[in-house]
Symmetry: C2
Subunit: 429 residues, 2 copies
């Protein structure tokens, strides 16, 4: 892990931005063909692609009560309890995000407002295979539930044995999800976006997936809404000399094990800490089961930036706009005002990133690739939409009639002015 | 304007959805080339494209105080006052949308929260030429101002004489915008996204434009955020037999004059009203200055749907999810619960659509193309972003340490578990 000394005014060139994987031309064509097939042949096409890509024939992809019961039998009772506790925490946090409709009346009798409505139907994609993430179920489903979405559909690809992850099934059942399909890849995205005989279409699709899922989501965007397409995960640690090197190193590595493309970055004014962390990362790396992934990530995207002061370190953080930011300083709260751009901020040594990844409450779907400059974590408002309400009274209308017509004509829109003036004829009705 | 009788259960096939104009391959290549040129040659490239596309050489595109002063001299004082009144209304409405940061503390001493921050810098594109829309300035700038965006930059293409619209300049000045550039097209979008020697880059670009602007916004998306790319405008009028045919017709035509692709739709259970509106539209059409546009729009995309009841008419509206919805019935407010999908709802005959287009307060940037099922009007929250805050106390950490580590291992993420367990060593520090 290289140490770079950052001089005043050099921060501008730092960036976490990397070009997103937009797939090869061949992958894009495969995805387009799959979507066309599913639009044309529906359930039959889904069955055929599941056989082809997941290696298993699934006659009816709808998950049965029996399958769920078996998942409960197999999963350790302690894990079920942990999932239940996580659900409670995540729900409590997201309930604070709920927004309501509002209206106000004016002296002239007119009423203006904003109506907030949940989406009708949402599809959540949960990756399958070796990486079964029940936390993806919680983080995508709970905000939709809190928003009041009536129909939440879960799709996840079956293993070669036709089965799903026990933890995923239990997490979904604990949230009351009853419509789950054993299907994945671009075919699942197409079925959710356009519907089949057996599956009603949804209005929005969220959740992570491989490159085919990401390309399919891009392709159906517009037909339905989608969540952001995430880049590789990132952590930045803002630390002063009070941070403990072995903790910083462990936190950097917890990011690095996700993906060889993940970025783990330490920003500190302390040269001593920088050197200690450098040594600790190397030492801890050797003992990790996902060592090869983490080592690659650290080598390619791991960085230690040493700045002239802690304030300059904050500048670096704002420049990077990291997905996750840990603040490991003597008084971490004191930086909340200065830090402008980050997906999630973890304050102090008792808030290592895994605390927030699936347990504390906030969402783990966060803006990557420097987009925390303008994007937000997934939340309840992503599953609600707003409608403006305008109810002008006769008095308000009469007061402003000429102004509105004049404005319309200023913009060259005569029929707009006449729509206003059409109301003049009322008396002679 | 055709009348279609809708039977029970036939609503499913109705749709406002049309494929968005994604441009020709040639247009996409032109836009890519322009963006590359501006990234490479900056201000020089912008000057060159302005000469080429707008037919005028602009040495320094920054609008001067002198140009603004001249615009004030030329615009009628009454129009300046109308713009000021509109600004007051729009600001009052949007101030209600402002959301704040929140935090909560738990018994165990941990703190969770959500920090709301305005974007740093926003660019607003305002079309030039014959269609100078000061309302675009108001509707894009005011939400950003209310959100607290510090730097708002306006770009708009110069006319062949090198000048801008007086109304656009005055509207911007009234809002306190001091950074305005005479540049348009893909070159303006590229300059905003990537910056030049004279123009600092922004974080988000909003505002309408022609196909080149739309393609350029798509191209720079990811580098910066963009607002939605709007389809043709739409109005649906939900009316019963109490509606006045000449008012309904005038309102339908005010939409139709925007664009030959615009959709104007009446949904009513009243056959009598349907026939009267049909005749009125024809009669009023002939007297409009933008008659040819409106006539084309009515012919291609105008529809009158007659349903078996008013409730079925509401079903049709929800199926269409129109950008604008006027409710012209005896008790319009009574439908607010039933109507689920619309960008903006105009209640009663004193709220024709032009009332809301630039004057009443709500935003006129609304979801088109049926996307009101999942999208919202442009608003203050589009110029704010959120950051999750997690501050676990030692007590909270000790309580949940094992659960968090166990969850990490369930997901196969050993380094996550070790990041938690690294904190155990504290005592022996």
């Amino acid at each position: 892990m290289n140490i770079t000394y950052i001089q005043e005014g050099e921060t501008d060139t730092l960036s976490l931005k990397r070009s997103l994987d937009t797939g090869t031309e061949e992958q894009r064509q495969i995805v387009q063909r799959i979507i066309q097939e599913v639009r044309k042949n529906g359930d039959e096409a889904v069955r055929s692609f599941t056989k082809q890509f997941d290696g298993v024939f699934v006659e009816d992809p709808l998950v049965t009560e029996d399958e769920i019961a078996k998942a409960y039998e197999r999963l350790e009772p302690e894990m079920i309890q942990i999932i239940q506790t996580a659900i409670r925490h995540i729900r409590t946090y997201h309930e604070r995000q709920l927004t309501s409709s509002w209206f106000y009346h004016q002296q002239d009798g007119s009423m203006l407002g904003q109506k907030v409505t949940p989406l009708d139907a949402v599809g959540v994609y949960v990756p399958g295979g070796t990486a079964a993430y029940p936390s993806s179920v919680l983080m995508n489903v709970i905000p939709a539930l809190v928003a009041g979405v009536e129909r939440i559909v879960l799709v996840t690809p079956p293993g070669k044995d036709g089965c799903l992850s026990d933890a995923v099934l239990v997490a979904a059942k604990e949230l009351g999800i009853s419509e789950m399909y054993k299907m994945g890849g671009a075919q699942a995205i197409a079925a959710l976006a356009y519907g089949t005989d057996n599956i009603q279409p949804v209005d929005k699709i969220t959740g992570p997936g491989n490159i085919y899922v990401a390309l399919a989501k891009r392709e159906v965007f517009g037909q339905v809404d989608i969540d952001m397409i995430a880049g590789p995960s990132e952590i930045a640690v803002l630390a002063d000399e009070t941070a403990l090197a072995h903790e910083v190193a462990a936190d950097l590595l917890s990011q690095a094990e996700h993906d060889a493309l993940a970025s783990s970055i330490l920003v500190t004014p302390s040269k001593t800490l920088a050197e200690k962390v450098q040594a600790e990362v190397q030492a801890q790396l050797d003992t990790l089961p996902r060592k090869s992934i983490a080592a690659q990530s650290i080598q390619d995207h791991g960085r230690i930036y040493v700045t002239e002061s802690i304030d300059r370190a904050v500048d670096v953080v704002n420049q990077l706009a990291p997905e996750h930011l840990e603040v490991l300083t003597a008084y971490p709260e004191s930086f909340l005002g200065q830090i402008k751009h980050a997906g999630a901020i973890f304050l102090g040594r008792y808030s290592p990133e895994p605390v927030g990844d699936y347990f504390a409450g906030p969402n783990h779907v966060l803006p990557t690739n420097g987009t925390a400059r303008f994007s937000s974590p997934l939340g309840v408002t992503d599953f609600q939409k707003k409608t403006s309400i305008i109810s002008y009274s006769q008095e308000a209308f009469e007061t402003h009639r000429e102004s509105i017509a004049a404005f319309a004509r200023l913009e060259g829109l005569e029929a707009h002015a006449r729509s206003i003036e059409a109301r003049k004829r009322e008396e002679s009705k």
